[in-house]
């Protein structure tokens, strides 16, 4: 999320409710890029993602007067986006099976419930035999590079859809666990398992890149 050091969402929402166009513009600028990135994960083209974002803000305007802030604006906004994007994704034959969630606590539906680190890296006693290197000494500032961010994005792109959405909302968009759970109707455990598997794969991708 862009780190505008400015007004908090709730006060901007209240100003927008009173007809303040500038306040609304700040909200639109603050969230639309992230909404677009997320929408793109549900629909096959950028143009469709743009439609979804547009529909989302129209829905926000329709509900704005009634919005009381019982959940955060962010939760409300992302929830609308995800619902619109899912509907559109189904229509375009590319849907994320969030509907199949809720059966059991793990991410096994993705055919993906094994260990997150290659078991070959541990001995029979469970101790590391091929240990992770320390990244604290990163003299070339590799992790601060554009290339590192590209590696992470590439890794995220190859994740199963639900892991992709969860890690993007949590670690790229900076939503809290509660906000993500409410936006996606996920249980606490499910959210955490999806996040865990996603993060582990992204870490592995960075490690492979650094150690190459």
């Amino acid at each position: 999320m862009p780190s505008t050091p400015a007004a908090d969402d709730q006060s901007l929402v209240e100003r927008a409710q009173a007809g303040d166009e500038e306040a609304y513009a700040i909200l639109v600028r603050r969230y639309s890029p992230a909404l677009m990135r997320l929408a793109r994960m549900y629909v096959p083209t950028a143009a469709l993602a743009e439609d979804v974002v547009q529909e989302t803000w129209v829905a926000v305007l329709r509900g704005l007067e009634r919005f009381e802030g019982r959940s955060s604006f962010k939760t409300w906004l992302f929830r609308i986006l995800v619902n619109r994007a899912k509907t559109r994704g189904v229509r375009e034959h590319r849907s994320i099976p969030f509907a199949s969630l809720g059966r059991g606590g793990d991410a096994g539906e993705d055919g993906d419930d094994g260990p997150t680190v290659d078991p070959e890296r541990f001995g029979r006693d469970g101790a590391w035999t091929s240990a992770p290197r320390s990244w604290e000494d990163d003299p070339e500032e590799a992790l601060n590079s554009k290339e590192a961010r590209r590696i992470v994005l590439e890794a995220i792109d190859t994740l199963p859809d639900r892991q992709k959405v969860v890690i993007t909302m949590r670690d790229l968009d900076g939503l809290s666990s509660e906000e993500v759970r409410n936006a996606l109707d996920l249980s606490e455990t499910n959210q955490r398992v999806l996040l865990h598997r996603a993060r582990a794969k992204v870490r592995t991708a960075l490690e492979d890149w650094i150690d190459q």
Partner: protein, 73 residues
């Protein structure tokens, strides 16, 4: 430990499990490195900004507010 790292970072371990986790980490440099790698991974991810909005798209989104204000939306 590698399968508990997210539970740990999310504050989802019970106090005794958390204590055991921290005791292990204190004595195991490799696991400490793994945890640190995970933290740095999150840091890299946190610096990935979405693409900026196309100005035409932004204008469209803002125009909708004027319609709404005029009672049209």
């Amino acid at each position: 430990m590698v399968e508990l790292v997210t539970d740990y970072l999310e504050g989802a371990l019970t106090p005794p499990d958390r204590a055991r986790f921290e005791a292990h980490i204190a004595g195991c440099a490799h696991c400490r490195a793994y945890l640190e790698q995970m933290r740095m991974t999150l840091q890299v991810a946190g610096h990935i900004e979405p693409d900026e909005l196309d100005p035409d798209t932004e204008r469209g989104l803002l125009d909708a507010f004027k319609d709404w204000k005029a009672g049209g939306a």
